[in-house]
Protein backbone atom coordinates (compact mmCIF):
# COMPACT_ATOMS: atom_id res chain seq x y z
CA UNK A 1 0.00 0.00 0.00
CA UNK A 2 1.36 3.31 -1.05
CA UNK A 3 2.10 5.66 1.77
CA UNK A 4 0.55 9.10 1.39
CA UNK A 5 2.74 12.01 2.41
CA UNK A 6 0.51 14.76 3.65
CA UNK A 7 3.00 17.33 4.78
CA UNK A 8 2.09 20.12 7.17
CA UNK A 9 -0.18 22.00 4.80
CA UNK A 10 -1.99 18.81 3.92
CA UNK A 11 -2.43 17.98 7.55
CA UNK A 12 -3.81 21.43 8.10
CA UNK A 13 -6.30 20.90 5.30
CA UNK A 14 -7.52 17.68 6.84
CA UNK A 15 -7.79 19.19 10.27
CA UNK A 16 -9.67 22.19 8.93
CA UNK A 17 -11.97 19.94 6.94
CA UNK A 18 -12.72 17.87 10.00
CA UNK A 19 -13.33 20.98 12.03
CA UNK A 20 -15.70 22.58 9.54
CA UNK A 21 -17.66 19.44 8.77
CA UNK A 22 -18.08 17.90 12.19
CA UNK A 23 -18.03 20.73 14.70
CA UNK A 24 -20.80 23.29 15.13
CA UNK A 25 -19.77 26.77 14.11
CA UNK A 26 -19.53 27.92 17.69
CA UNK A 27 -16.94 29.92 19.50
CA UNK A 28 -16.74 31.13 23.05
CA UNK A 29 -16.69 34.87 23.50
CA UNK A 30 -14.47 36.78 25.84
CA UNK A 31 -16.87 38.33 28.33
CA UNK A 32 -14.18 39.57 30.69
CA UNK A 33 -14.19 43.23 31.56
CA UNK A 34 -16.01 46.03 33.30
CA UNK A 35 -19.58 46.35 32.11
CA UNK A 36 -21.09 49.77 32.76
CA UNK A 37 -24.75 50.19 33.46
CA UNK A 38 -26.88 52.14 30.99
CA UNK A 39 -30.23 53.17 32.44
CA UNK A 40 -31.75 54.11 29.12
CA UNK A 41 -34.93 52.14 29.73
CA UNK A 42 -36.88 51.82 32.97
CA UNK A 43 -34.67 54.56 34.40
CA UNK A 44 -37.04 55.48 37.23
CA UNK A 45 -37.61 51.86 38.15
CA UNK A 46 -33.93 51.01 38.20
CA UNK A 47 -32.82 54.17 39.94
CA UNK A 48 -35.27 55.91 42.24
CA UNK A 49 -37.55 52.89 42.16
CA UNK A 50 -40.98 52.06 40.78
CA UNK A 51 -44.20 53.45 42.18
CA UNK A 52 -45.46 51.58 45.25
CA UNK A 53 -48.18 49.72 43.40
CA UNK A 54 -47.10 49.29 39.81
CA UNK A 55 -47.35 45.78 38.39
CA UNK A 56 -47.72 46.91 34.78
CA UNK A 57 -46.48 44.24 32.39
CA UNK A 58 -45.82 41.64 35.09
CA UNK A 59 -47.38 38.20 34.45
CA UNK A 60 -48.52 37.82 38.08
CA UNK A 61 -51.15 35.29 39.05
CA UNK A 62 -53.71 36.02 41.76
CA UNK A 63 -51.45 34.75 44.53
CA UNK A 64 -48.50 36.79 43.31
CA UNK A 65 -50.66 39.89 43.14
CA UNK A 66 -52.01 39.33 46.64
CA UNK A 67 -48.51 38.91 48.04
CA UNK A 68 -47.32 42.02 46.23
CA UNK A 69 -50.19 44.08 47.65
CA UNK A 70 -49.34 42.89 51.16
CA UNK A 71 -45.81 44.21 50.82
CA UNK A 72 -44.56 47.27 52.61
CA UNK A 73 -41.00 48.54 52.36
CA UNK A 74 -40.90 48.53 56.16
CA UNK A 75 -40.07 44.82 56.04
CA UNK A 76 -36.59 45.90 55.03
CA UNK A 77 -36.19 47.04 58.61
CA UNK A 78 -36.01 43.39 59.61
CA UNK A 79 -32.48 42.01 59.35
CA UNK A 80 -33.69 38.61 58.19
CA UNK A 81 -35.53 40.24 55.26
CA UNK A 82 -33.14 43.01 54.31
CA UNK A 83 -31.39 41.05 51.59
CA UNK A 84 -34.37 39.42 49.93
CA UNK A 85 -34.09 41.64 46.84
CA UNK A 86 -30.71 40.31 45.88
CA UNK A 87 -31.23 37.26 43.74
CA UNK A 88 -29.31 37.23 40.42
CA UNK A 89 -32.40 38.78 38.82
CA UNK A 90 -31.63 42.01 40.68
CA UNK A 91 -28.85 42.82 38.21
CA UNK A 92 -31.58 43.68 35.74
CA UNK A 93 -33.68 45.56 38.29
CA UNK A 94 -31.10 47.80 39.85
CA UNK A 95 -28.69 50.56 38.85
CA UNK A 96 -25.54 48.48 38.73
CA UNK A 97 -22.71 47.54 36.47
CA UNK A 98 -20.52 44.51 37.02
CA UNK A 99 -17.15 42.95 36.38
CA UNK A 100 -16.81 39.59 34.61
CA UNK A 101 -13.84 37.26 34.61
CA UNK A 102 -13.12 33.60 33.98
CA UNK A 103 -11.60 30.91 36.19
CA UNK A 104 -9.25 28.59 34.31
CA UNK A 105 -7.84 25.19 35.14
CA UNK A 106 -4.18 24.37 34.54
CA UNK A 107 -4.88 23.39 30.93
CA UNK A 108 -6.38 26.77 30.16
CA UNK A 109 -9.92 25.48 30.04
CA UNK A 110 -12.60 27.76 31.51
CA UNK A 111 -14.06 26.16 34.61
CA UNK A 112 -16.36 29.01 35.53
CA UNK A 113 -17.38 32.52 34.61
CA UNK A 114 -17.82 35.04 37.39
CA UNK A 115 -20.11 38.04 37.55
CA UNK A 116 -18.83 40.33 40.28
CA UNK A 117 -20.87 41.66 43.16
CA UNK A 118 -22.35 45.11 43.01
CA UNK A 119 -25.20 47.17 44.35
CA UNK A 120 -25.75 44.72 47.21
CA UNK A 121 -26.21 41.75 44.90
CA UNK A 122 -23.62 39.05 45.46
CA UNK A 123 -21.21 37.67 42.92
CA UNK A 124 -22.49 34.97 40.59
CA UNK A 125 -20.42 31.89 39.83
CA UNK A 126 -21.39 30.25 36.52
CA UNK A 127 -20.03 26.71 36.41
CA UNK A 128 -18.91 25.70 32.92
CA UNK A 129 -17.48 22.28 33.73
CA UNK A 130 -20.64 20.28 33.35
CA UNK A 131 -21.25 19.64 37.03
CA UNK A 132 -24.83 18.79 37.96
CA UNK A 133 -27.19 21.00 39.89
CA UNK A 134 -27.69 20.11 43.56
CA UNK A 135 -30.51 17.94 44.80
CA UNK A 136 -33.92 19.63 44.94
CA UNK A 137 -33.65 19.27 48.70
CA UNK A 138 -30.38 21.19 48.93
CA UNK A 139 -30.43 24.54 50.75
CA UNK A 140 -31.33 27.63 48.74
CA UNK A 141 -29.07 30.69 48.80
CA UNK A 142 -29.54 34.20 47.44
CA UNK A 143 -27.52 33.58 44.29
CA UNK A 144 -28.73 30.05 43.79
CA UNK A 145 -26.68 27.59 41.78
CA UNK A 146 -25.79 28.39 38.21
CA UNK A 147 -24.40 26.42 35.29
CA UNK A 148 -23.62 27.70 31.83
CA UNK A 149 -23.17 26.48 28.30
CA UNK A 150 -22.08 28.19 25.12
CA UNK A 151 -24.65 28.26 22.34
CA UNK A 152 -22.44 29.56 19.58
CA UNK A 153 -21.35 33.02 20.68
CA UNK A 154 -24.02 33.23 23.34
CA UNK A 155 -23.50 32.16 26.93
CA UNK A 156 -26.69 30.65 28.28
CA UNK A 157 -26.94 30.14 32.02
CA UNK A 158 -29.41 28.28 34.20
CA UNK A 159 -29.98 29.14 37.86
CA UNK A 160 -31.84 27.09 40.44
CA UNK A 161 -31.94 27.06 44.26
CA UNK A 162 -32.48 30.79 44.75
CA UNK A 163 -34.17 32.20 47.80
CA UNK A 164 -37.62 33.72 47.59
CA UNK A 165 -37.31 37.40 46.72
CA UNK A 166 -38.71 40.06 44.43
CA UNK A 167 -39.02 40.63 40.70
CA UNK A 168 -39.74 44.34 40.88
CA UNK A 169 -38.44 46.76 43.45
CA UNK A 170 -41.85 47.25 45.01
CA UNK A 171 -42.46 43.83 46.44
CA UNK A 172 -43.78 41.85 43.46
CA UNK A 173 -42.62 38.40 44.50
CA UNK A 174 -40.38 35.60 43.27
CA UNK A 175 -40.69 32.20 44.93
CA UNK A 176 -37.82 29.90 45.79
CA UNK A 177 -39.09 27.56 43.07
CA UNK A 178 -38.25 30.10 40.36
CA UNK A 179 -35.74 29.17 37.68
CA UNK A 180 -33.73 31.82 35.93
CA UNK A 181 -32.36 31.39 32.41
CA UNK A 182 -30.03 34.13 31.19
CA UNK A 183 -28.44 34.78 27.81
CA UNK A 184 -25.23 36.82 27.66
CA UNK A 185 -24.84 38.27 24.16
CA UNK A 186 -21.80 40.34 23.38
CA UNK A 187 -21.62 42.58 20.32
CA UNK A 188 -18.43 44.57 20.27
CA UNK A 189 -18.50 46.80 23.32
CA UNK A 190 -22.15 46.11 24.08
CA UNK A 191 -23.30 43.25 26.29
CA UNK A 192 -26.99 42.44 26.31
CA UNK A 193 -28.33 40.23 29.06
CA UNK A 194 -31.71 38.66 28.51
CA UNK A 195 -33.27 37.05 31.59
CA UNK A 196 -36.23 34.67 31.55
CA UNK A 197 -37.64 34.10 35.01
CA UNK A 198 -40.02 31.17 35.25
CA UNK A 199 -41.88 30.93 38.56
CA UNK A 200 -44.62 28.30 38.88
CA UNK A 201 -45.82 29.79 42.16
CA UNK A 202 -46.41 33.47 41.36
CA UNK A 203 -46.31 33.83 37.56
CA UNK A 204 -48.49 32.54 34.74
CA UNK A 205 -45.77 33.10 32.12
CA UNK A 206 -42.05 33.78 32.34
CA UNK A 207 -41.11 37.35 33.15
CA UNK A 208 -38.54 38.45 30.57
CA UNK A 209 -36.24 41.42 31.00
CA UNK A 210 -33.32 42.49 28.85
CA UNK A 211 -30.74 45.19 29.45
CA UNK A 212 -27.58 46.37 27.73
CA UNK A 213 -24.27 47.25 29.40
CA UNK A 214 -21.28 48.94 27.74
CA UNK A 215 -17.65 47.94 28.16
CA UNK A 216 -15.65 50.53 30.09
CA UNK A 217 -12.47 51.03 32.02
CA UNK A 218 -14.27 50.65 35.32
CA UNK A 219 -17.65 49.18 36.16
CA UNK A 220 -19.78 51.84 37.76
CA UNK A 221 -21.13 49.55 40.41
CA UNK A 222 -22.60 52.33 42.51
CA UNK A 223 -21.02 53.64 45.67
CA UNK A 224 -18.26 51.49 47.21
CA UNK A 225 -20.31 50.73 50.29
CA UNK A 226 -22.81 48.99 48.03
CA UNK A 227 -20.24 47.09 45.99
CA UNK A 228 -20.40 44.00 48.16
CA UNK A 229 -23.09 41.47 48.94
CA UNK A 230 -25.89 42.67 51.15
CA UNK A 231 -25.05 42.39 54.84
CA UNK A 232 -28.05 42.69 57.14
CA UNK A 233 -27.91 44.86 60.20
CA UNK A 234 -30.33 46.34 62.71
CA UNK A 235 -31.25 49.78 61.40
CA UNK A 236 -34.56 50.30 63.16
CA UNK A 237 -34.36 49.00 66.72
CA UNK A 238 -38.10 49.12 67.29
CA UNK A 239 -38.56 45.98 65.21
CA UNK A 240 -35.78 43.95 66.75
CA UNK A 241 -37.26 41.08 68.66
CA UNK A 242 -40.70 42.62 68.59
CA UNK A 243 -42.23 39.77 66.62
CA UNK A 244 -43.67 42.19 64.12
CA UNK A 245 -43.62 41.55 60.38
CA UNK A 246 -44.63 44.79 58.66
CA UNK A 247 -47.35 44.15 56.11
CA UNK A 248 -50.53 45.54 54.59
CA UNK A 249 -53.74 43.63 55.15
CA UNK A 250 -55.75 42.42 52.15
CA UNK A 251 -57.86 45.16 50.66
CA UNK A 252 -56.13 47.85 52.70
CA UNK A 253 -53.26 48.92 50.45
CA UNK A 254 -53.54 52.72 50.32
CA UNK A 255 -51.52 53.04 47.12
CA UNK A 256 -53.59 51.01 44.69
CA UNK A 257 -55.03 54.11 43.03
CA UNK A 258 -51.83 56.11 42.91
CA UNK A 259 -50.80 55.25 39.35
CA UNK A 260 -54.32 55.89 38.14
CA UNK A 261 -54.39 59.30 39.76
CA UNK A 262 -50.95 60.33 38.54
CA UNK A 263 -50.78 58.78 35.10
CA UNK A 264 -54.40 57.93 34.26
CA UNK A 265 -53.60 54.22 33.91
CA UNK A 266 -56.66 52.07 34.71
CA UNK A 267 -56.33 50.19 37.98
CA UNK A 268 -56.99 46.91 36.20
CA UNK A 269 -53.78 47.42 34.23
CA UNK A 270 -51.85 48.56 37.29
CA UNK A 271 -52.59 45.18 38.89
CA UNK A 272 -50.64 43.47 36.10
CA UNK A 273 -51.19 40.01 34.70
CA UNK A 274 -49.88 38.45 31.51
CA UNK A 275 -52.58 40.15 29.47
CA UNK A 276 -50.95 43.52 30.10
CA UNK A 277 -47.73 42.42 28.37
CA UNK A 278 -49.31 41.97 24.95
CA UNK A 279 -49.92 44.67 22.33
CA UNK A 280 -53.62 43.85 22.00
CA UNK A 281 -54.11 45.08 25.56
CA UNK A 282 -53.83 48.58 24.16
CA UNK A 283 -57.31 48.17 22.72
CA UNK A 284 -58.68 47.94 26.23
CA UNK A 285 -56.75 51.01 27.24
CA UNK A 286 -57.53 53.17 24.27
CA UNK A 287 -61.20 53.83 24.97
CA UNK A 288 -60.71 55.39 28.39
CA UNK A 289 -57.18 56.73 28.39
CA UNK A 290 -56.41 60.42 28.35
CA UNK A 291 -52.78 61.38 28.76
CA UNK A 292 -51.96 63.65 31.69
CA UNK A 293 -51.73 67.26 30.60
CA UNK A 294 -48.05 67.51 31.44
CA UNK A 295 -45.27 65.62 33.14
CA UNK A 296 -44.64 66.61 36.75
CA UNK A 297 -42.26 63.97 38.15
CA UNK A 298 -39.27 62.03 36.86
CA UNK A 299 -39.63 63.85 33.54
CA UNK A 300 -35.98 63.69 32.48
CA UNK A 301 -33.17 61.41 33.47
CA UNK A 302 -30.94 58.50 32.71
CA UNK A 303 -27.74 57.12 34.09
CA UNK A 304 -24.62 55.96 32.37
CA UNK A 305 -22.26 57.24 29.73
CA UNK A 306 -19.94 60.19 29.95
CA UNK A 307 -22.07 61.89 32.56
CA UNK A 308 -22.51 58.83 34.73
CA UNK A 309 -23.89 59.75 38.08
CA UNK A 310 -25.87 62.73 36.84
CA UNK A 311 -29.48 62.75 35.88
CA UNK A 312 -30.17 64.69 32.70
CA UNK A 313 -27.10 66.95 32.69
CA UNK A 314 -27.63 70.32 31.06
CA UNK A 315 -31.41 70.11 31.06
CA UNK A 316 -33.89 72.24 32.92
CA UNK A 317 -36.30 69.51 33.78
CA UNK A 318 -37.88 67.70 36.74
CA UNK A 319 -35.53 64.82 37.46
CA UNK A 320 -36.98 63.58 40.73
CA UNK A 321 -40.23 62.50 42.30
CA UNK A 322 -41.21 65.94 43.50
CA UNK A 323 -44.06 67.83 41.95
CA UNK A 324 -46.47 64.95 41.71
CA UNK A 325 -49.69 64.53 43.59
CA UNK A 326 -48.33 61.85 45.88
CA UNK A 327 -49.85 60.90 49.18
CA UNK A 328 -47.70 61.11 52.30
CA UNK A 329 -46.00 57.78 52.83
CA UNK A 330 -45.39 55.91 56.03
Amino acid sequence: MKKIELGRAGTAVLLLTAALVSVPASAEMDLAGNWNVREYQDWQERGAGPEVVDYLGLPLNAEGRAKALAYTASVLSMPERQCLYYTPFYRLLGPIGFVMWADFDMTGKVVAWNVGAGGDVGGLKIWMDGRPHPSPNAPHVFNGFTTGVWEGDMLTTYTTHIKAGYLRRNGAPISDQAILTQHFMRHGNALTLSAHLDDPIYLTEPDVLSRTWILGSVANIAAPQFAAPCTPSVEVPRLEGAGVVPHILPGKNPFVNELTEMYHIPQEAVMGGAETMYPEYRKKLKAGYVAPEKCVRYCCGWQGGAESGNNAPGLECVTNGGGGNVRPRN
Binding site: A9, G10, A12, V13, L16, L20, V21, S22, P24, A25, S26, A27, E28, M29, Y40, Q41, D42, W43, L56, G57, P59, E151, G152, D153, M154, T156, Y158, T181, H183, M185, R186, H187, G188, T192, S194, H196, P206, V208, L209, S210, Y263, M277, P279, Y281, R282, L285, K286, Y289, A291, P292, K294, C295, C299, C300, W302, A306, P313, L315, E316, C317
Partner: protein
Protein backbone atom coordinates in the same frame (compact mmCIF):
# COMPACT_ATOMS: atom_id res chain seq x y z
CA UNK B 1 2.51 39.22 13.37
CA UNK B 2 -0.65 39.55 15.42
CA UNK B 3 -3.93 37.80 14.87
CA UNK B 4 -7.18 37.97 16.77
CA UNK B 5 -7.85 34.65 18.43
CA UNK B 6 -11.29 33.12 18.78
CA UNK B 7 -11.52 34.42 22.33
CA UNK B 8 -10.70 37.94 21.21
CA UNK B 9 -7.19 37.73 22.62
CA UNK B 10 -4.32 39.05 20.62
CA UNK B 11 -1.67 36.39 20.14
CA UNK B 12 1.56 36.32 18.24
CA UNK B 13 1.90 34.24 15.14
CA UNK B 14 5.35 32.80 15.18
CA UNK B 15 7.53 32.99 12.14
CA UNK B 16 7.17 29.23 11.99
CA UNK B 17 3.46 29.55 11.60
CA UNK B 18 3.76 32.48 9.25
CA UNK B 19 5.92 30.34 6.98
CA UNK B 20 2.94 28.16 6.25
CA UNK B 21 0.47 31.01 5.91
CA UNK B 22 0.35 31.01 2.12
CA UNK B 23 -0.08 27.31 1.64
CA UNK B 24 -2.60 27.17 4.45
CA UNK B 25 -4.62 29.96 2.91
CA UNK B 26 -4.92 28.11 -0.38
CA UNK B 27 -5.75 24.95 1.50
CA UNK B 28 -8.44 26.81 3.39
CA UNK B 29 -9.99 28.06 0.18
CA UNK B 30 -9.95 24.59 -1.28
CA UNK B 31 -11.69 23.08 1.71
CA UNK B 32 -14.16 25.97 1.94
CA UNK B 33 -15.24 25.52 -1.66
CA UNK B 34 -15.83 21.82 -1.13
CA UNK B 35 -18.40 22.39 1.60
CA UNK B 36 -21.99 21.66 0.58
CA UNK B 37 -23.31 25.09 1.44
CA UNK B 38 -20.68 26.73 -0.70
CA UNK B 39 -20.83 24.40 -3.65
CA UNK B 40 -24.29 25.69 -4.46
CA UNK B 41 -22.82 29.11 -4.92
CA UNK B 42 -20.66 28.21 -7.89
CA UNK B 43 -21.56 29.90 -11.13
CA UNK B 44 -20.92 28.59 -14.63
CA UNK B 45 -17.35 28.21 -15.61
CA UNK B 46 -16.30 27.92 -11.98
CA UNK B 47 -16.70 31.63 -11.18
CA UNK B 48 -17.54 31.89 -7.50
CA UNK B 49 -20.65 33.85 -6.60
CA UNK B 50 -21.19 34.93 -3.03
CA UNK B 51 -23.60 32.69 -1.18
CA UNK B 52 -27.03 34.23 -0.76
CA UNK B 53 -27.83 35.52 2.69
CA UNK B 54 -30.84 33.25 2.94
CA UNK B 55 -28.70 30.24 2.12
CA UNK B 56 -26.10 30.83 4.80
CA UNK B 57 -28.46 32.26 7.42
CA UNK B 58 -27.18 31.05 10.81
CA UNK B 59 -30.55 31.71 12.45
CA UNK B 60 -34.10 31.62 11.16
CA UNK B 61 -35.86 34.88 11.94
CA UNK B 62 -38.83 34.28 9.67
CA UNK B 63 -42.33 34.02 11.03
CA UNK B 64 -44.65 36.01 13.23
CA UNK B 65 -43.31 37.59 16.41
CA UNK B 66 -45.02 39.55 19.16
CA UNK B 67 -43.40 42.24 21.27
CA UNK B 68 -43.66 41.54 24.98
CA UNK B 69 -44.03 44.86 26.75
CA UNK B 70 -42.81 44.66 30.32
CA UNK B 71 -40.16 47.37 30.06
CA UNK B 72 -40.93 51.09 29.75
CA UNK B 73 -44.59 50.09 29.86
CA UNK B 74 -45.93 53.58 30.68
CA UNK B 75 -44.01 55.09 27.77
CA UNK B 76 -44.91 52.45 25.19
CA UNK B 77 -48.36 51.03 25.90
CA UNK B 78 -49.92 54.48 26.32
CA UNK B 79 -48.93 57.90 25.06
CA UNK B 80 -47.02 59.55 27.89
CA UNK B 81 -47.64 63.08 29.06
CA UNK B 82 -46.14 65.96 27.18
CA UNK B 83 -42.72 66.61 28.65
CA UNK B 84 -42.10 63.06 29.87
CA UNK B 85 -38.71 62.13 28.47
CA UNK B 86 -37.48 59.77 31.17
CA UNK B 87 -34.72 57.32 30.14
CA UNK B 88 -33.86 59.02 26.83
CA UNK B 89 -30.50 60.87 26.97
CA UNK B 90 -31.69 63.95 25.08
CA UNK B 91 -29.93 67.29 24.93
CA UNK B 92 -31.40 70.74 25.54
CA UNK B 93 -32.30 71.30 21.89
CA UNK B 94 -34.18 68.02 21.76
CA UNK B 95 -36.10 69.02 24.86
CA UNK B 96 -36.94 72.39 23.38
CA UNK B 97 -38.36 70.75 20.27
CA UNK B 98 -40.20 68.04 22.20
CA UNK B 99 -41.80 70.65 24.42
CA UNK B 100 -43.44 72.02 21.26
CA UNK B 101 -44.99 68.67 20.35
CA UNK B 102 -48.40 69.11 18.80
CA UNK B 103 -50.02 65.98 17.36
CA UNK B 104 -52.71 68.03 15.63
CA UNK B 105 -50.00 69.76 13.63
CA UNK B 106 -48.50 66.42 12.66
CA UNK B 107 -51.88 65.17 11.52
CA UNK B 108 -52.50 68.30 9.48
CA UNK B 109 -49.12 67.87 7.82
CA UNK B 110 -49.71 64.20 7.07
CA UNK B 111 -46.88 63.27 9.45
CA UNK B 112 -48.73 60.74 11.59
CA UNK B 113 -45.92 58.22 11.13
CA UNK B 114 -43.25 60.27 12.89
CA UNK B 115 -43.10 57.87 15.83
CA UNK B 116 -42.88 54.81 13.57
CA UNK B 117 -39.47 55.43 12.02
CA UNK B 118 -36.66 52.88 12.20
CA UNK B 119 -35.16 54.18 15.48
CA UNK B 120 -38.56 53.87 17.18
CA UNK B 121 -40.57 51.18 15.44
CA UNK B 122 -39.18 48.22 17.36
CA UNK B 123 -40.35 49.85 20.61
CA UNK B 124 -43.91 50.24 19.35
CA UNK B 125 -46.11 47.46 20.78
CA UNK B 126 -47.12 45.16 17.97
CA UNK B 127 -46.23 42.18 15.84
CA UNK B 128 -43.55 41.53 13.27
CA UNK B 129 -43.92 39.40 10.17
CA UNK B 130 -40.49 38.48 8.83
CA UNK B 131 -40.00 36.90 5.42
CA UNK B 132 -37.39 36.72 2.70
CA UNK B 133 -38.36 39.15 -0.05
CA UNK B 134 -35.54 37.69 -2.14
CA UNK B 135 -32.47 35.65 -1.21
CA UNK B 136 -30.60 38.77 -0.13
CA UNK B 137 -33.37 40.90 1.37
CA UNK B 138 -35.05 40.24 4.66
CA UNK B 139 -38.44 41.92 4.94
CA UNK B 140 -39.76 42.99 8.33
CA UNK B 141 -43.37 44.12 8.37
CA UNK B 142 -45.07 45.64 11.40
CA UNK B 143 -48.77 45.58 12.02
CA UNK B 144 -48.52 48.70 14.18
CA UNK B 145 -48.21 51.55 11.73
CA UNK B 146 -48.06 49.14 8.76
CA UNK B 147 -44.38 49.77 8.20
CA UNK B 148 -42.00 47.72 6.05
CA UNK B 149 -38.30 47.42 6.76
CA UNK B 150 -36.10 45.98 4.05
CA UNK B 151 -32.79 44.66 5.35
CA UNK B 152 -30.43 44.40 2.41
CA UNK B 153 -27.50 42.00 2.46
CA UNK B 154 -24.39 42.24 0.34
CA UNK B 155 -24.59 44.46 -2.70
CA UNK B 156 -28.32 44.76 -2.48
CA UNK B 157 -28.17 48.18 -0.90
CA UNK B 158 -30.84 50.53 -2.16
CA UNK B 159 -30.29 53.60 -4.28
CA UNK B 160 -30.44 57.08 -2.79
CA UNK B 161 -33.40 59.40 -2.97
CA UNK B 162 -35.53 61.02 -0.33
CA UNK B 163 -35.07 59.75 3.19
CA UNK B 164 -37.79 57.38 4.36
CA UNK B 165 -39.21 56.41 7.73
CA UNK B 166 -37.39 53.09 7.62
CA UNK B 167 -34.22 54.44 5.98
CA UNK B 168 -31.65 52.35 4.14
CA UNK B 169 -30.59 49.22 5.98
CA UNK B 170 -27.47 47.19 5.31
CA UNK B 171 -27.51 43.75 6.90
CA UNK B 172 -24.82 41.19 7.59
CA UNK B 173 -24.74 37.88 9.36
CA UNK B 174 -21.95 37.96 11.88
CA UNK B 175 -20.42 36.22 14.81
CA UNK B 176 -20.50 38.02 18.12
CA UNK B 177 -16.75 38.30 17.80
CA UNK B 178 -17.27 40.40 14.70
CA UNK B 179 -16.16 37.77 12.21
CA UNK B 180 -18.18 36.58 9.25
CA UNK B 181 -20.56 33.66 9.37
CA UNK B 182 -18.99 30.59 7.81
CA UNK B 183 -20.99 28.02 5.87
CA UNK B 184 -21.37 24.74 7.70
CA UNK B 185 -21.94 21.29 6.37
CA UNK B 186 -25.27 19.53 6.17
CA UNK B 187 -27.47 19.84 9.20
CA UNK B 188 -24.75 20.92 11.59
CA UNK B 189 -25.91 23.66 13.96
CA UNK B 190 -25.35 27.22 12.81
CA UNK B 191 -24.65 30.14 15.06
CA UNK B 192 -24.46 33.85 14.60
CA UNK B 193 -26.54 36.99 14.69
CA UNK B 194 -27.88 39.64 12.37
CA UNK B 195 -26.26 43.05 12.35
CA UNK B 196 -28.16 45.89 10.71
CA UNK B 197 -26.98 49.44 10.14
CA UNK B 198 -29.64 51.91 9.08
CA UNK B 199 -29.10 55.45 7.80
CA UNK B 200 -30.85 57.97 5.59
CA UNK B 201 -33.85 57.99 7.89
CA UNK B 202 -36.59 60.60 7.67
CA UNK B 203 -36.55 62.65 10.90
CA UNK B 204 -39.17 61.68 13.40
CA UNK B 205 -39.81 60.82 17.03
CA UNK B 206 -38.14 58.32 19.34
CA UNK B 207 -41.22 58.45 21.51
CA UNK B 208 -44.84 59.17 20.72
CA UNK B 209 -44.78 62.45 22.66
CA UNK B 210 -42.39 64.18 20.31
CA UNK B 211 -38.86 63.26 21.49
CA UNK B 212 -37.01 63.94 18.24
CA UNK B 213 -34.36 62.13 16.24
CA UNK B 214 -32.63 63.88 13.37
CA UNK B 215 -31.63 63.07 9.80
CA UNK B 216 -28.11 62.48 11.15
CA UNK B 217 -29.21 59.40 13.05
CA UNK B 218 -27.47 56.09 12.60
CA UNK B 219 -29.25 53.04 13.97
CA UNK B 220 -27.19 49.92 14.70
CA UNK B 221 -29.01 46.74 15.66
CA UNK B 222 -28.00 43.22 16.63
CA UNK B 223 -30.67 40.55 16.30
CA UNK B 224 -30.15 37.37 18.31
CA UNK B 225 -32.30 34.27 18.50
CA UNK B 226 -32.84 32.54 21.85
CA UNK B 227 -34.36 29.10 22.20
CA UNK B 228 -35.76 28.43 25.64
CA UNK B 229 -36.15 25.19 27.54
CA UNK B 230 -39.93 25.45 27.30
CA UNK B 231 -39.70 25.46 23.51
CA UNK B 232 -40.30 29.15 23.04
CA UNK B 233 -38.21 31.13 20.58
CA UNK B 234 -37.39 34.77 21.22
CA UNK B 235 -35.73 37.46 19.16
CA UNK B 236 -33.60 39.80 21.22
CA UNK B 237 -32.78 43.08 19.48
CA UNK B 238 -30.01 45.26 20.86
CA UNK B 239 -30.41 48.77 19.47
CA UNK B 240 -27.88 51.59 19.49
CA UNK B 241 -29.24 54.96 18.38
CA UNK B 242 -26.55 57.48 17.57
CA UNK B 243 -27.87 60.98 16.93
CA UNK B 244 -25.27 63.72 17.38
CA UNK B 245 -27.95 66.35 16.89
CA UNK B 246 -30.36 65.44 19.67
CA UNK B 247 -28.75 62.86 21.96
CA UNK B 248 -26.01 63.43 24.52
CA UNK B 249 -24.81 59.82 24.29
CA UNK B 250 -25.61 56.78 22.22
CA UNK B 251 -28.98 55.39 23.33
CA UNK B 252 -28.51 51.68 24.03
CA UNK B 253 -31.60 49.60 24.68
CA UNK B 254 -32.82 46.06 24.05
CA UNK B 255 -36.16 44.59 23.09
CA UNK B 256 -37.63 41.13 22.93
CA UNK B 257 -40.16 39.40 20.70
CA UNK B 258 -41.74 35.97 21.20
CA UNK B 259 -42.47 33.72 18.25
CA UNK B 260 -46.09 32.92 17.49
CA UNK B 261 -47.33 29.84 15.65
CA UNK B 262 -49.09 31.77 12.90
CA UNK B 263 -50.46 35.14 11.85
CA UNK B 264 -53.87 34.78 13.45
CA UNK B 265 -53.21 37.72 15.77
CA UNK B 266 -51.78 39.96 13.07
CA UNK B 267 -53.72 43.20 13.37
CA UNK B 268 -52.68 45.96 10.96
CA UNK B 269 -53.39 49.50 12.07
CA UNK B 270 -52.34 52.75 10.41
CA UNK B 271 -50.00 55.24 12.02
CA UNK B 272 -51.47 57.44 14.71
CA UNK B 273 -50.03 60.71 15.93
CA UNK B 274 -51.87 60.46 19.24
CA UNK B 275 -52.10 56.74 20.18
Amino acid sequence: MSVLGTRGVLTNMTSHAAKYKTSLSWATVAVFLCLPGVAHSQGRGGAAAPAAAQEIAPIDLTGYWVSIVNEDWRWRMVTPAKGDYASVPINAEAKRIADLWDPAKDEAAGEQCRSYGAPAIMRVPGRLHITWQDPNTLKVETDAGEQIRLLHFGKGTPAGGAATWQGDSVATWERGSGGPVMPVAGNAPRYGDLKVITKHIRPGYLRKNGVPYSANTTLTEYWDLNKERNGEQWIEVTTLVDDPTYLQVEWATSLHFKKEPDGSKWDPAPCSARW
